[in-house]
Every structure is written in C-alpha cells, then in structure tokens.
Symmetry: C2
Subunit: 388 residues, 2 copies
Amino acid sequence: MGLRGVSIIGIGSTPFGILEGRTLKEMATVACNEAIKDAGVERSQIQAFYIGNYIAGMILGQETIAALVVNSLGLNREIPSTKVEGACSSASIALRQGHLLVATGVYDIVLVAGVEKMTSASTEKVTQALASSIDMETEGLTGLTFPGYWALIAQRHMYEFGTTIEQLGMVSVKNHNNAVFNPRARFRDPTTLDEVMSSRLITDPLKLFDCCPVADGAAAAVLCAAEMAEDFTKKPVDIIGIAQTTGYSSLYEQAQLVTLPATVSAAKKAFEMAKLKPEDIDVVELHDCFTPAEIVDAEDLGFFEKGKGGWAVEEGITQVDGRLPINASGGLISKGHPVGATGLGQAYEIVKQLRGEHENQIKGAEIGLTHNAGGTGAVCCVNILKRR
Amino acid sequence: MGLRGVSIIGIGSTPFGILEGRTLKEMATVACNEAIKDAGVERSQIQAFYIGNYIAGMILGQETIAALVVNSLGLNREIPSTKVEGACSSASIALRQGHLLVATGVYDIVLVAGVEKMTSASTEKVTQALASSIDMETEGLTGLTFPGYWALIAQRHMYEFGTTIEQLGMVSVKNHNNAVFNPRARFRDPTTLDEVMSSRLITDPLKLFDCCPVADGAAAAVLCAAEMAEDFTKKPVDIIGIAQTTGYSSLYEQAQLVTLPATVSAAKKAFEMAKLKPEDIDVVELHDCFTPAEIVDAEDLGFFEKGKGGWAVEEGITQVDGRLPINASGGLISKGHPVGATGLGQAYEIVKQLRGEHENQIKGAEIGLTHNAGGTGAVCCVNILKRR
C-alpha cells in the first residue's frame, strides 16, 4: 500500500469560550473560511468535507451539519460532506478521514473541521449529552459521568503510584499559566497551586480547577497532497504519523484503571508510521479533560514510565521551558473543551508552533504530537506533525 | 487514481419494525454478526468499522456507538471505529467510507453497518429529532417537518406535471403489496387504492398510507477487495458505482421544488463510475420516505423523464413484473424506515436480489441500484451493485 504524504496547508479557529450570539453554523463557517484563506485554495478546489461534532443533536437539535456548512461556505454541492462522531475525538476523526483520502490519492484537497456550541445549553443538558458516549445499557445506568470517571482513575493512580493531589494541581497551574498567552483560550488568568487546591471539590480528589470548562468553538484545516503543498504555502506542516483506535465503552470492562488502552495502541501506531520515538517529539497537545488525564495520557503516549507522570509534572519537565512542553496552549483545562472541535483545535495549536507563529512559542519546535481521546477511552486519535 | 474493485461478501439484517426489548447495541450486533457469518470472515480479519446512525443521541441519549458495537462484537480494539451521520443517508455513507478504504488498498476487509431504534421514543421526540437535519437557524424555525416538506414537493409536482393523487396512492399500493413477501418488512398486509385513498389525511395531499413508518432495525455488510471475494463466497456482489453528494439544507434555497439536485449529481457520478446508463439497471431500491419521493427520485435518477414518474407508476413499469421493478422489498413505505439503517437495508435487499435469494425475486436481476437521501436532499448516496 503506497500512501503519499499529506500536509496541512491552512488552519482556522474561532476562540474557544462563551461565544454569545455565535451559532454552530457560523462558528464552523468562520473557522473554515479562515483555513481556506490561510491555505490560499479556491473553494472550487475543495473535493470533500468532513466535520466532527459530538452533541449538537442532543443540545441544539441540529444534525446533518456537514451539508449545512458546505452550503454556508458556498462550496461545490457535488462534493461529499460527512459528519463523523467519536465523542471528544470527533474532530480528529475528521482529520484522519481527510488524511486517508488525500494519502490514497482519491482527492488532492480536502477541508476538515470540528465544531461544538455548548454554553447556550443548561448544565444538566450538557452533562447528560456528554455522558452519551458511555454505554447507556450498562455503566451509563449507574449515573457515572466524566468527572466521576476521572476521579476513579485518579484515585487508583494515587493508590498504585503515590501520585499526589498537589501533582494534579500542578497540571492545572501550568495549563492556566500557559493560557495567559493564548488569545483563543477561555481562561486567561494566571493561577497558583493554592488557588487550585482551595477551589471547590467536585468529585474527590478533583476540584473545580482540575476540570476543563465547556466551551463554544470551531477549528478547521485544509489538507493537500504533500507534493503540492508548497504551491500553496511556504510553511506546510506534514502529517507524518496518524492513528485512530478503539477502546472500552465502559470503565468496568477495563482490566486496569490507570491506563487507556486506546491511547497506548494509537500512540504505537502513530510512532511506527512516523518512524519516531516519544523522545523525538518537541511539543505536545494532549487530552487533559481533567488533570489526572494529562498524567495518565502522557504515560500512555510513552513520554514517561507508567506511574511517573505526576513526578514529571512536579519536576517541570512539561513546562514550556522543560524538556517536553505539554499543552502550551493552555490545554483543555484552560483553553476550553468544545468537545467536537477540540481535536482540530489541538492541531491548530501544533501547526502554529511548528510554523514558529505561536503566542506561547516553544523555541525550535520541529515535531509535534496531538492526542485526542473520546468517551471512556472508547476512541483515541494520535497525530504526529512535522514542519518542512 | 487506480482504485481496485470492492465486493460485498456478507450481509446481515434484523427485521425492520417494532422490535420491543431489542436495544440499539443488540440490533447492531445481531446484524453485524449475521454479516460476518454470511461472509465467512474471522473477526480478527476485520480492519475497520463504520456505522451509520442518525438520531440515537437525541432520542436514546447514546452516542459513540461505533466503539460500543466493536466491543459488543468482540472485534480487535486496535481497529478504528467511526460513526458517520448524514441524516437518513447515514448507513450509505458508512458503506461508502468502507468502499473507499478497501478500493484504495488501505484495508482489505471492512465491516459497515447502520442502526436506529425509534419505536421506544414518543412521536414528538422522534419528529423533533428527524427535523434536526433541516437548518435550525432558518427553515427549521418555521416548524417544517418532513411530511410537510414532501407535501410541498408533491403539490408542486402535481401542479407542474399533472401528477395525480391516485398515482401517489399507487406507489403505496405497490410497495405494500411487495412487502407481503418480505419477512423483514414492518407492514406485510396487502392494500388497495381505495384503502390508501381513504386513509387519514396527514398533510395535503399526503395521507397516512403515503408516509413511511418509523421502525427499529439494523443492517450490515462485510466488504472486501474484489480480487479476494471468491475466497470467501461463491456469490460476491461487486460495487461498481458509488457516489455521495451534498444538496440543500433548506427547501427555500432550492431553485425548483420538483427535483433534488443531490440525487441528480449522485446518480450521474455513480453511472459514470459504473459506465452504465439507467436502462441497464434491473432492480432498484430507492428512498420512498413518502410516495411523492418515489416519483421524484425515479425521475432524478434518470429512469423517467422529469414529470413522467407518476405515469410510469400508473402504467405498472415499476411493479415487480414491470420493466423496472422499484422497491420490491416494500420500500421505506412498507418495509419501514429505521433512519440510520435504511441505506444498508436497501443494499441488503439488492444483494439478495442479485444472489437470486430474495423472497420477492426479480428474475434474472444482474445489476441493482440503491438510492438513499438524507434531510431536505442535503445528502444523497447512490450505489450500483452487480452480481459476478
């Protein structure tokens, strides 16, 4: 199977946050238009469109948004347009579908996007919608939702490895302080460990500042065949590793609580495809929906030995000036988590880093990784991106 | 771009109807297991899974069902699993994604499915969920739902072309009488034009018998590279034409009411790919969500001149013993319309016809076509299948 190289030649994003008065369709349109302009492609050159979205049906009563956005953008209506869903991984799935079809030569230029509008719905409605990725015939019936899910994992990680509540808090402090520089972030105030530790308890051991906020937002990218990329941009970013895997739809099915098997297998596949190892990565955006997720994910991705993730945070390794900067954007914790858009939001941040254009720039970043998990680890996408 | 041939080597389906006590996950699992068994593949040989679903999030609170079904089936969790959505075209989109990835050589064997569980929810909830494919920022706000949408089209078709209410009714009679033979159909009682014409008015000119019923159901297919197909089955069915296009998300945007542009463009592409013309097709399953849809779609697919579809029905051309049998399964009108499953339900019926195994067999059928439309024609998929 001879796949050709695929590059990201254009990116677009709305801010992530409370975007009052901006509709789902409008946000997706804004992000896509920005990506199209950034790429310098003509609308008529776009041959397919994929959009990731998770809960717009449940909280806004709007489905079939791929066609909606094709119409709003004024693209050629003869192209296929598809919504893909894999919980909080939805936008990364859109990226992968686009990648596959360019890599195989089916298309030369594909537009991919992700969008979510969450802040206009009630907390109850959003909480119920987010829980829909859990198996509603089994574990979902227990009333488990995601703060509880990650609290269970955190408790076990603390029990098995001695990870501390302060280490969880340090993830939050780092990500909040990174977001100060990011104009796309929902929370841009710096914070301290004291503030994090004294924030309201949500579900033991997680406090308010250990949890990512809901957000409105959209992000998009234009993909093209690597061999054509420099016709459009001086700064193409190549997708050199990309993988999507399946995990468990319920926590009770997992043999261990301290690892997400879908992350482990997606990372393995993406590194194999890129012919790289974890130590080759310069900058990472990973799925820190809750502070323990950043620790567990960093271990599962192979950056740290299982159980050592908390100490890596404590030692400053994941700070912007550390050996492996993680979530320099502020991550989900501070940038915000518009669930169906997050994966391409991460890609947006990494592309900016690799172009040397990020507001919280990691000096000399050449290779970046995004990690985007959905549900109870039911879906995982890992992408490795490289500047030319 | 050299695409290789792709075959359907296994099919599975639940009955379509009121499947009390059978859950979404269970129905998808049953259909997939039947397709896997029919294909004679090992679970470990399946390299990717796509599932179409439209409204399970909105009416059951269950998303991320691709992973759910991979777990339920006991497939290898390292494979990618993706839910795709394009309103009532969702299952056909799953089929097309699978086709593309086998055709390009990314995978050799892919499982695709579609599922919907509708009859356990209230009519209000289902009606609202189905309307979610309309642009909720514009036309959706008017309260238009699909019976009204197709009534508008029917009125205009009658005005422009003299199509009669009786011709609409004859579609219903034909499809009801076809379903008598189909054990998968929801409605299996024969009917008469009198009964159809005297059924309750829903939205002028549509009566109850002009409307398809909601249903529970799932359908699935195993796809593999055409060159490998005979290793698994003596009766492979080749996908020789396949297309997915985008149309309008609102009726008010369309220049004409009597045609769905997405059907016209999808048919054109599918026939071009198959190097065939409409007169080469032996048997058709098309998207008769309402009786006028069967007439409009048959015209848009190129089987009859625009405006002549009603007369084709009246002349018996679309009967099982006519020149072009349409919806020998009973169609959506009588077989039922579990929205996210319908597209693969159609493929199931056509594969049975081409294998010579259908309960309402069209003699000598060699080439069949499925047509599956979503929303206000926002998405359309057309597939052309051929027996070896």
